[in-house]
Protein backbone atom coordinates (compact mmCIF):
# COMPACT_ATOMS: atom_id res chain seq x y z
CA UNK A 1 0.00 0.00 0.00
CA UNK A 2 1.29 3.43 -0.94
CA UNK A 3 1.03 5.97 1.82
CA UNK A 4 1.89 8.94 -0.42
CA UNK A 5 -0.68 10.31 -2.84
CA UNK A 6 0.22 10.47 -6.55
CA UNK A 7 0.40 14.24 -6.37
CA UNK A 8 2.73 14.18 -3.38
CA UNK A 9 5.09 11.74 -5.12
CA UNK A 10 5.21 13.86 -8.30
CA UNK A 11 5.69 17.23 -6.61
CA UNK A 12 9.01 18.99 -7.15
CA UNK A 13 10.23 16.49 -9.73
CA UNK A 14 9.25 18.33 -12.92
CA UNK A 15 8.82 16.87 -16.39
CA UNK A 16 12.19 15.07 -16.33
CA UNK A 17 11.42 13.40 -12.99
CA UNK A 18 14.68 14.60 -11.50
CA UNK A 19 13.56 18.01 -10.23
CA UNK A 20 16.32 20.57 -9.77
CA UNK A 21 19.12 17.96 -9.65
CA UNK A 22 21.18 19.57 -12.47
CA UNK A 23 20.82 23.06 -11.03
CA UNK A 24 21.85 21.82 -7.58
CA UNK A 25 24.85 19.93 -9.02
CA UNK A 26 25.96 23.10 -10.84
CA UNK A 27 25.64 25.08 -7.60
CA UNK A 28 27.69 22.57 -5.60
CA UNK A 29 30.40 22.17 -8.26
CA UNK A 30 30.54 25.96 -8.79
CA UNK A 31 31.28 26.51 -5.09
CA UNK A 32 33.88 23.72 -5.10
CA UNK A 33 35.58 25.19 -8.19
CA UNK A 34 35.44 28.70 -6.73
CA UNK A 35 37.57 27.47 -3.83
CA UNK A 36 40.00 25.46 -5.96
CA UNK A 37 40.54 27.51 -9.13
CA UNK A 38 42.67 30.44 -7.80
CA UNK A 39 45.22 28.10 -6.19
CA UNK A 40 45.17 25.74 -9.16
CA UNK A 41 45.81 28.61 -11.59
CA UNK A 42 48.90 29.49 -9.56
CA UNK A 43 50.13 25.85 -9.57
CA UNK A 44 49.48 25.32 -13.27
CA UNK A 45 50.83 28.74 -14.25
CA UNK A 46 54.05 28.09 -12.32
CA UNK A 47 54.52 24.72 -14.05
CA UNK A 48 53.83 26.10 -17.53
CA UNK A 49 56.94 26.88 -19.55
CA UNK A 50 59.20 24.76 -17.35
CA UNK A 51 61.39 21.86 -18.45
CA UNK A 52 59.92 18.33 -18.32
CA UNK A 53 61.83 17.59 -15.10
CA UNK A 54 60.44 20.74 -13.45
CA UNK A 55 56.88 19.98 -14.57
CA UNK A 56 57.08 16.36 -13.37
CA UNK A 57 58.57 17.52 -10.03
CA UNK A 58 55.62 19.88 -9.44
CA UNK A 59 52.86 17.38 -10.29
CA UNK A 60 54.60 14.55 -8.41
CA UNK A 61 53.94 16.41 -5.14
CA UNK A 62 50.68 15.37 -3.41
CA UNK A 63 48.98 18.76 -3.16
CA UNK A 64 49.36 19.85 -6.82
CA UNK A 65 48.45 16.32 -7.99
CA UNK A 66 45.31 16.03 -5.84
CA UNK A 67 44.20 19.59 -6.61
CA UNK A 68 44.69 19.04 -10.35
CA UNK A 69 42.77 15.74 -10.21
CA UNK A 70 39.87 17.42 -8.40
CA UNK A 71 39.84 20.44 -10.72
CA UNK A 72 39.80 18.16 -13.79
CA UNK A 73 37.05 15.89 -12.40
CA UNK A 74 34.73 18.54 -10.94
CA UNK A 75 35.46 20.94 -13.82
CA UNK A 76 34.67 18.38 -16.51
CA UNK A 77 31.43 17.21 -14.85
CA UNK A 78 30.46 20.91 -14.51
CA UNK A 79 31.30 21.32 -18.22
CA UNK A 80 29.30 18.23 -19.28
CA UNK A 81 26.14 19.51 -17.59
CA UNK A 82 26.64 23.10 -18.75
CA UNK A 83 27.28 22.02 -22.34
CA UNK A 84 24.19 19.78 -22.18
CA UNK A 85 22.08 22.81 -21.20
CA UNK A 86 23.60 24.80 -24.09
CA UNK A 87 22.87 22.00 -26.59
CA UNK A 88 19.30 21.56 -25.29
CA UNK A 89 18.66 25.25 -25.99
CA UNK A 90 19.75 25.20 -29.64
CA UNK A 91 19.66 21.64 -31.05
CA UNK A 92 16.74 19.27 -31.49
CA UNK A 93 16.02 15.60 -32.17
CA UNK A 94 18.85 13.28 -33.13
CA UNK A 95 21.37 16.14 -33.46
CA UNK A 96 20.64 17.07 -29.85
CA UNK A 97 21.17 13.50 -28.63
CA UNK A 98 24.39 13.09 -30.63
CA UNK A 99 25.85 16.40 -29.38
CA UNK A 100 24.96 15.67 -25.73
CA UNK A 101 26.57 12.23 -25.97
CA UNK A 102 29.64 13.86 -27.54
CA UNK A 103 29.90 16.50 -24.77
CA UNK A 104 29.59 13.87 -22.01
CA UNK A 105 32.13 11.62 -23.77
CA UNK A 106 34.64 14.47 -24.14
CA UNK A 107 34.28 15.25 -20.43
CA UNK A 108 35.02 11.63 -19.41
CA UNK A 109 37.87 11.32 -21.95
CA UNK A 110 39.54 14.44 -20.49
CA UNK A 111 39.07 13.08 -16.93
CA UNK A 112 40.59 9.69 -17.90
CA UNK A 113 43.54 11.33 -19.70
CA UNK A 114 44.22 13.72 -16.82
CA UNK A 115 44.09 10.95 -14.21
CA UNK A 116 46.34 8.70 -16.32
CA UNK A 117 48.92 11.49 -16.69
CA UNK A 118 48.84 12.34 -12.96
CA UNK A 119 49.17 8.68 -11.89
CA UNK A 120 52.00 8.11 -14.35
CA UNK A 121 53.83 11.17 -12.99
CA UNK A 122 53.20 10.04 -9.39
CA UNK A 123 54.61 6.51 -9.75
Amino acid sequence: MRYLTDRKRAMGKGAAGTGTETHWYMTVSAVALAFMIPTWLYVFGSALGGTRAEVVAIFARPFPALLTALVIFVGMRHFAKGATTLIEDYAHGTTRKALIILAISISYAVIATGFYALIRIAI
Partner: protein
Protein backbone atom coordinates in the same frame (compact mmCIF):
# COMPACT_ATOMS: atom_id res chain seq x y z
CA UNK B 1 -1.97 15.72 -32.98
CA UNK B 2 -0.59 14.31 -36.24
CA UNK B 3 -2.26 16.68 -38.70
CA UNK B 4 -2.48 19.96 -36.84
CA UNK B 5 -2.83 22.81 -39.36
CA UNK B 6 0.06 25.25 -39.06
CA UNK B 7 -1.56 28.66 -38.73
CA UNK B 8 0.40 31.84 -39.41
CA UNK B 9 0.54 32.97 -35.83
CA UNK B 10 2.43 36.10 -34.75
CA UNK B 11 5.78 35.39 -33.14
CA UNK B 12 6.55 36.65 -29.67
CA UNK B 13 9.27 39.35 -29.53
CA UNK B 14 12.47 37.66 -30.58
CA UNK B 15 16.06 38.11 -29.47
CA UNK B 16 17.13 40.20 -32.47
CA UNK B 17 14.60 42.99 -31.90
CA UNK B 18 15.77 43.73 -28.38
CA UNK B 19 18.25 46.53 -27.80
CA UNK B 20 21.55 44.99 -26.67
CA UNK B 21 21.79 45.33 -22.90
CA UNK B 22 24.68 44.88 -20.51
CA UNK B 23 22.75 42.27 -18.51
CA UNK B 24 21.96 40.07 -21.53
CA UNK B 25 25.47 40.56 -22.97
CA UNK B 26 27.16 39.48 -19.72
CA UNK B 27 24.79 36.49 -19.44
CA UNK B 28 25.59 35.28 -22.99
CA UNK B 29 29.29 35.80 -22.31
CA UNK B 30 29.02 33.47 -19.27
CA UNK B 31 27.85 30.69 -21.58
CA UNK B 32 30.47 31.39 -24.27
CA UNK B 33 33.39 31.50 -21.79
CA UNK B 34 32.21 28.39 -19.92
CA UNK B 35 31.87 26.24 -23.01
CA UNK B 36 34.87 27.76 -24.79
CA UNK B 37 37.12 26.78 -21.87
CA UNK B 38 37.07 23.17 -23.12
CA UNK B 39 39.70 24.19 -25.72
CA UNK B 40 42.17 25.39 -23.08
CA UNK B 41 41.42 22.37 -20.85
CA UNK B 42 42.09 19.88 -23.66
CA UNK B 43 45.36 21.66 -24.52
CA UNK B 44 46.42 21.68 -20.83
CA UNK B 45 45.58 17.99 -20.25
CA UNK B 46 47.33 17.00 -23.48
CA UNK B 47 50.44 18.89 -22.33
CA UNK B 48 50.26 17.09 -18.95
CA UNK B 49 49.94 13.73 -20.72
CA UNK B 50 53.02 14.57 -22.79
CA UNK B 51 54.96 15.48 -19.62
CA UNK B 52 53.99 12.09 -18.16
CA UNK B 53 54.94 10.17 -21.31
CA UNK B 54 58.41 10.94 -22.72
CA UNK B 55 60.98 13.67 -23.40
CA UNK B 56 60.22 13.68 -27.14
CA UNK B 57 56.45 13.92 -26.67
CA UNK B 58 56.87 16.69 -24.07
CA UNK B 59 59.18 18.63 -26.39
CA UNK B 60 56.49 18.56 -29.08
CA UNK B 61 53.61 19.50 -26.75
CA UNK B 62 55.67 22.17 -25.01
CA UNK B 63 56.58 23.72 -28.38
CA UNK B 64 52.87 23.99 -29.21
CA UNK B 65 51.93 25.33 -25.76
CA UNK B 66 54.70 27.96 -25.72
CA UNK B 67 54.15 29.03 -29.36
CA UNK B 68 52.13 32.18 -30.15
CA UNK B 69 49.12 29.91 -30.71
CA UNK B 70 49.46 28.22 -27.32
CA UNK B 71 50.04 31.53 -25.54
CA UNK B 72 46.97 32.99 -27.27
CA UNK B 73 44.77 30.00 -26.23
CA UNK B 74 46.01 30.05 -22.62
CA UNK B 75 45.75 33.84 -22.23
CA UNK B 76 42.21 33.77 -23.66
CA UNK B 77 41.36 30.80 -21.40
CA UNK B 78 42.75 32.64 -18.38
CA UNK B 79 40.45 35.59 -19.05
CA UNK B 80 37.55 33.19 -19.78
CA UNK B 81 38.12 31.34 -16.50
CA UNK B 82 38.14 34.57 -14.50
CA UNK B 83 35.10 35.94 -16.31
CA UNK B 84 33.18 32.67 -15.80
CA UNK B 85 34.35 32.64 -12.16
CA UNK B 86 32.98 36.12 -11.40
CA UNK B 87 29.82 35.56 -13.45
CA UNK B 88 29.30 32.26 -11.60
CA UNK B 89 29.60 33.99 -8.24
CA UNK B 90 27.08 36.53 -9.52
CA UNK B 91 24.71 33.65 -10.35
CA UNK B 92 25.06 32.23 -6.83
CA UNK B 93 24.19 35.72 -5.52
CA UNK B 94 21.18 35.89 -7.86
CA UNK B 95 20.11 32.39 -6.72
CA UNK B 96 19.97 33.70 -3.16
CA UNK B 97 17.35 36.17 -4.46
CA UNK B 98 19.67 39.17 -4.18
CA UNK B 99 20.97 41.77 -6.67
CA UNK B 100 18.11 41.25 -9.12
CA UNK B 101 17.08 44.92 -9.49
CA UNK B 102 18.37 46.47 -12.73
CA UNK B 103 20.88 49.05 -11.28
CA UNK B 104 22.52 46.37 -9.09
CA UNK B 105 22.49 43.74 -11.89
CA UNK B 106 24.20 46.24 -14.24
CA UNK B 107 26.81 47.15 -11.62
CA UNK B 108 27.53 43.44 -11.11
CA UNK B 109 27.84 43.07 -14.89
CA UNK B 110 30.49 45.80 -15.02
CA UNK B 111 32.19 44.19 -12.02
CA UNK B 112 32.45 40.90 -13.97
CA UNK B 113 33.83 42.59 -17.09
CA UNK B 114 36.35 44.88 -15.37
CA UNK B 115 37.16 42.35 -12.63
CA UNK B 116 37.95 39.57 -15.11
CA UNK B 117 40.43 41.77 -17.02
CA UNK B 118 42.03 42.94 -13.76
CA UNK B 119 42.35 39.37 -12.41
CA UNK B 120 43.81 38.16 -15.72
CA UNK B 121 46.53 40.84 -15.60
CA UNK B 122 47.16 40.11 -11.91
CA UNK B 123 47.53 36.37 -12.59
CA UNK B 124 49.91 37.00 -15.50
CA UNK B 125 52.03 39.22 -13.23
CA UNK B 126 52.09 36.62 -10.43
CA UNK B 127 53.08 33.56 -12.43
Amino acid sequence: MADVKRAARPLSPHLQIYRPQLTSFTSILTRITGNGLIVGVILAVWWLLAAATSDRYFEMANAVVTSWFGILIFTASLWAIWYHYLAGLRHLYFDAGKGLDIPTAEKLGWACLIGSVALTILTLLLI
